[in-house]
């Protein structure tokens, strides 16, 4: 019994890392007042770039960096169109996803089926020896440890530093921030770019560590789930853990039922559950109203221009 729980817990953490990283990134972007619906596209491009760099050089550090940078590069397109040209943020994000999936399909074709770099799990000394919890949390991929640190770090920067104050000010009231001498366009560009880095990193986790290899469908909607989780965790990077765990937990149950061939719930229903549950969570959070509305950055999705 305990063994099963540890098994499920371990896979739950493993399955939640990509969503967690992408959620933290999107929180940063949205806190700056910009909605970027291109997460899925940035993730898949990050996954491809990470895999390709690993395949070409064999160097895992380069692979990780390439994944993040690819996501960041794609996000700058969003920054250019939404900030410089003041394009519709929803439509531009969708276009970014379409572009990302197209690029991944087009450029990734020759890499299908190749074996690249694998970033394996490693046990953290001492911590991994804690009974049960050690096995669940500290026998993971380095990405998971990175995420454990990046979540609280993002929270700290956002709420305890001047840079975070500037970011939130731009997201809450861009005109007021502008009057106070903040460079709104630059702040938002950085927020979008950092979000892109996180999405790219999340994608590279999938192709380097979670399911090593390349397939153009490997993100499977995780980017969209991350965007939904931003609402669930009310734009707070610390709560992102809970959102991601929800997704990871369901994926883990799917594995568990498959591995033990217990057939209480049909496989296809299990496969649908992460998406259905995400919708359920959205309904709950939205209809419980007040908290969410006060947490949402007031200028989210509103382009800033001094002229109008």
């Amino acid at each position: 019994m305990m063994e099963d729980i540890v098994f499920i817990g371990q896979i739950a953490i493993k399955s939640s890392v990509a969503v967690l990283l992408a959620t933290i990134g999107e929180i940063i972007t949205e806190r700056g007042g910009v909605l970027n619906l291109g997460v899925e596209g940035m993730m898949i491009v990050g996954a491809l770039a990470g895999f390709a760099a690993g395949f070409a050089t064999g160097n895992p550090y380069l692979a990780i960096a390439a994944g993040a940078m690819a996501g960041g590069a794609l996000s700058l397109i969003h920054a250019f169109f939404t900030i410089k040209l003041r394009s519709n943020q929803v439509l531009c994000g969708l276009a970014l996803t379409i572009l990302g999936l197209g690029l991944a399909n087009f450029l990734g074709r020759p890499l299908i089926g190749e074996a690249g770099v694998r970033i394996r799990a490693f046990a953290v000394p001492y911590l991994s020896e804690i009974p049960y919890l050690g096995e669940i949390f500290f026998q993971q991929s380095p990405y998971a440890y990175g995420a454990y640190i990046l979540g609280p770090l993002a929270w700290y920067v956002m709420f305890k530093t001047r840079a975070g104050l500037v970011l939130r000010a731009v997201g809450e009231d861009a005109a007021a921030a502008d009057a106070a001498g903040v460079n709104v366009a630059a702040t938002r560009t950085i927020a979008i770019w950092v979000g892109g880095l996180f999405s790219g990193l999340a994608g590279s986790y999938l192709s380097l560590s979670y399911t090593p290899g390349w397939k153009e469908t490997m993100t499977g909607g995780q980017g969209w789930i991350a965007i939904a989780m931003v609402i669930f965790c009310t734009w707070n990077p610390l709560r992102a853990f809970w959102g991601a765990l929800l997704f990871g937990g369901l994926t883990a149950l799917q594995f568990f039922f498959q591995a033990t061939s217990i057939d209480i719930i049909p496989a296809y229903v299990l496969k649908m559950l992460p998406y259905l549950l995400t919708i359920g969570v959205l309904v709950l959070v939205t209809s419980s109203g007040k908290r969410r509305r006060s947490a949402s950055p007031a200028d989210l999705g509103v382009p800033f221009s001094r002229e109008s």
């Binding site: 169109f81 969708l94 690029l103 399909n105 087009f106 074709r109 499977g220 049909p266 296809y268 939205t286």
Partner: protein
């Protein structure tokens, strides 16, 4: 230093200009990609052009592709006119396909065409409508963001469809091939002139015209457009926003469902993997390129269809990956944004030393 300055008035025919600029940017992107691949862009575009307009048959394939694209484009457009984002046309298309196949295979397998064709049309529209009403109800009742719900439901729909044709609906005589049995012939849509153009094409054109009149010539459509422009004002005016949200989502889903029916009963003749290939997402591009005008949707659908057929030609003639059309498609959309920006704003080149300091009012004057 480049600055955008708002134009005092927007030029007439601006929509058309935007599309021209979009095309120009996509064309340029293509030149760069072909160049990087070591192919002369002129050769590549000639191959695409010939592949599309080279013969009657090749152009007919463009219209074959334009059929589902028109339906999904209309589906996205009718919702977007009311500022509802239906990113779920893909899932609604899948349900249309499921309902159409189910009707033909299991509900009325023995029916005559004059019975069965209307039956698959109605059930497919109904299937898409039901699927779109889930996010519709969530939006109308709980204000749940429809972008995310419509999109997430796409994955659910596709998983269910795969379950059907890998499982209970799999063709017993199909040698393990994932797909249902072939639909009875009475359910096959009529084809024209020895091509694969089928009844779905004129039907899509009819829907476009019908939707145009509904949105632009009826008081209902007028209210929908007002809600899209200014929701608060519309509810002060006493417009029933909730009811219209549901109605618009229902129409949108029904149109996307028709796309699924057109593919299943017009092309594949069975439910199989090739159904969910992204027409639902392409519909977003079709709708916005058409400026959300239902009468322009068939035109932009043909444009996108030509891009796809041209892309396939690149693969078969030059051995380039056909997925290049996906990138050109995204470039079209980004080009449209650039075009819109150029319509509303003028680019002003300013020498960096002459940028005025911020005035207290926050206006650079």
């Amino acid at each position: 230093m480049i600055r955008l300055v708002k134009k005092s008035e927007v030029t007439r025919y601006s929509g058309l200009n935007s599309v021209a600029i979009a095309g120009f940017i996509a064309f340029g992107t293509g030149c760069i990609i072909f160049g990087l691949l070591g192919v002369n862009p002129l050769t590549a575009y000639t191959v695409m052009f010939k592949g599309v307009f080279g013969s009657f048959h090749s152009f007919s394939e463009v219209l074959v592709k334009a059929t589902p694209l028109t339906f999904t484009g209309l589906a996205v457009a009718v919702a977007a006119v009311m500022m509802l984002w239906n990113i779920g046309a893909e899932g609604q298309l899948v349900w249309g396909g499921i309902f159409a196949a189910g009707t033909a295979l299991f509900l009325l397998p023995e029916a005559q065409p004059y019975m069965l064709i209307p039956a698959v049309l109605v059930t497919a529209a109904f299937g898409g409508m039901l699927w779109a009403l889930i996010p519709g109800v969530l939006k109308a009742r709980f204000q749940v963001n429809e972008i995310l719900t419509t999109l997430l439901l796409n994955y659910v729909a596709i998983i269910y469809m795969e379950h059907l044709f890998y499982g209970p609906w799999r063709d017993p005589a199909g040698f393990g091939f994932p797909g249902t049995a072939q639909l009875p012939e009475a359910a096959h849509l009529l084809r024209f002139l020895g091509t694969r153009i089928h009844l779905g094409f004129p039907l899509a054109m009819l829907c476009a015209v019908g939707l145009f009149f509904l949105l632009n010539k009826s008081s209902w459509g007028y209210k929908v457009r007002v809600i899209g422009k200014e929701q608060k004002a519309a509810s002060y005016a006493g417009f029933n926003v909730t009811g219209k949200t549901l109605a618009v989502m229902a129409i949108s889903g029904a149109l996307a469902g028709m796309a699924g029916m057109a593919e299943v009963c017009g092309i594949h003749y069975r439910l199989q993997t090739g159904l969910a290939v992204g027409y639902g997402y392409d519909g977003i591009i079709v709708a916005w390129l058409a400026g959300l005008n239902p009468l322009f949707v068939p035109l932009t659908a043909v444009l996108l269809g030509a891009l796809f057929v041209g892309g396939e030609q690149l693969q078969s003639v030059l051995g380039l990956p056909s997925t290049i059309s996906l990138i050109l498609e995204a470039a079209l959309l980004f080009g449209l944004f650039a075009g819109k920006a150029m319509q509303q704003y003028r680019l002003v080149f300013i020498r960096s030393d002459s940028i005025p300091e911020r005035s207290p009012a926050g206006r650079p004057e």
